[in-house]
């Protein structure tokens, strides 16, 4: 019983960490490309920023799905 609940918590913790790795990689790659294209084409800065925020929201949304699942496991 104790072992089982321990495994639940451990799984939730590892899951939360892995989800953050994914989101970090995604947003990092996104920001890198965005900054690069802004440097190449400064007049397109506003369009690039808009597209970047929109995509970052999607990446973050997927990561938050995982985090909510982990939270439910940890608390449930």
């Amino acid at each position: 019983m104790l072992l089982e609940s321990g495994m639940d918590k451990m799984g939730a913790g590892i899951g939360a960490g892995v989800a953050v790795i994914g989101a970090g990689l995604g947003i990092g790659k996104l920001a890198a490309s965005a900054v690069e294209s802004m440097a190449r084409q400064p007049e397109a800065t506003n369009d690039v920023r808009g597209a970047m925020i929109l995509t970052a929201a999607f990446v973050e949304g997927v990561a938050l799905f995982a985090e909510v699942v982990c939270l439910l496991i940890a608390l449930g």
């Binding site: 929109l54 929201a57 799905f65 985090e67």
Partner: protein, 361 residues
């Protein structure tokens, strides 16, 4: 037009002012005391979840006793035998509440779920803490924006004054940067809704960061309701091409068309669900972080037994929670922006004409 608004305002003011008069205080034992240790999970959930009373402060009166100051909110039930029931309950601990509910013929468990003692079906319609706080945010918005609107009417084509000049750039930003590029020339009809959405989420988030208040957008029911509004708007503004792409995707063999229908319907539901979860998780995460950092002081202080431990972690804990709170002020407006932007983008996608969509394939 002015008369109904002022009448509504007065009713709301009276309703909100009436609540504090119902504040009750009683001598109770704090829940953490009974179990002996300091329970972080319990503290986090108590602060983040919705409840039937607005808990303001516990004043220690010595001997492990606390004087609880809180605003009791009314219970509104639909009972399949007795019809609508409206009453107040006395007390703060689950036992006190249960004893008080028994007088009315109900029982309450530790989580605030109510059930009838006679076995009738009960639907809980009570205005909870979150509902009260949403009404308070709505009141602030009503007062503020009716004043700004009347300032525009009174002084047309002149430089803005006071609150008007603070909000004008934001209003223009929503109209020109969110509505116009995404809604294909039909933005005029959607700007009022987008503005309401943006300012409601922003105000609710800022309101939630302030002391004593609940986190409105950190309640999944609230964000889900906002997402349902967006979902309904998307479907009602969908063109023939939008529905065509969902049920009979053009330019594909028939087996793939059937598969795409399933995929598209899943996609249809994912959009509002993602909206709701994004807002909920972002706001909740901030609250969890701050509460966990503050809890560190009590964990290391071992309830007053280790003053050194508490003092050691105090500067670190306060500095980090200040940092997170500052970040939260930023997150409050960024999440409001993202929710509004995505709503506009999704509605715009549904309104797209076929010729325009074809270019993107």
């Amino acid at each position: 037009m002015n008369l109904p608004i002022s009448v509504i305002l007065r009713i709301i003011v009276v309703l909100v002012l009436a609540f504090p008069t119902l504040a009750r205080a009683s001598e109770t034992k704090a829940e953490g005391e009974q179990s002996g240790g300091f329970n972080v999970t319990e503290l986090l959930l108590h602060h983040v979840l919705d409840s039937h009373d607005w808990h303001i402060v516990d004043i220690p009166t010595g001997g492990g006793k606390y004087f609880t100051v809180s605003v009791s909110l009314p219970w509104l039930l639909y009972d399949s035998e007795k019809g609508l029931k409206f009453f107040f309950l006395h007390g703060h601990t689950p036992e006190e509440l249960n004893a008080s509910a028994a007088e009315h013929g109900y029982q309450i468990d530790g989580h605030g779920h109510i059930a009838s003692l006679t076995g009738a079906n009960v639907v809980d319609l009570s205005p909870t803490k979150t509902v009260l706080h949403i009404l308070m945010v709505a009141l602030v918005m009503l007062l503020l924006f009716t004043r700004i609107a009347s300032a525009y009417k009174a002084r047309p084509n002149q430089a803005p004054k006071g609150a008007q000049s603070f909000f004008e750039p934001l209003i223009v930003f929503i109209r020109d940067e969110i509505a116009k590029p995404n809604l294909h020339g039909k933005h005029a009809a959607f700007v009022p809704y987008l503005l309401t959405l943006f300012f409601f989420i922003w105000f609710a988030n800022i309101f939630g960061i302030m002391p004593l208040n609940s986190n409105i957008a950190g309640n999944i029911s609230v964000t889900a309701a906002l997402a349902v509004l967006t979902f309904v708007l998307i479907q009602f503004n969908g063109t023939k091409d939008y529905w065509g792409h969902i049920f009979w995707f053009p330019g594909l063999p028939v087996p793939l068309k059937l598969l795409m229908t399933v995929v598209e319907i899943v996609g249809l539901l994912t959009k509002p669900v993602a909206l709701a979860i994004r807002l909920f998780a972002n706001i909740s995460a901030g609250h969890f972080m701050v509460l966990a950092l503050i809890s560190l002081i009590f964990l290391l202080g071992k309830q007053g037994q280790s003053v050194g431990g508490a003092l050691g972690i105090l500067p670190l804990s306060l500095a980090f929670s200040l940092f997170i709170l500052t970040l939260e002020v930023l997150v409050a407006i960024v999440q409001a922006y993202i929710f509004t932007l995505l709503t506009a983008v999704f509605i715009g996608q549904a309104m797209e004409s076929h010729d325009h969509a074809e270019a993107g394939h």
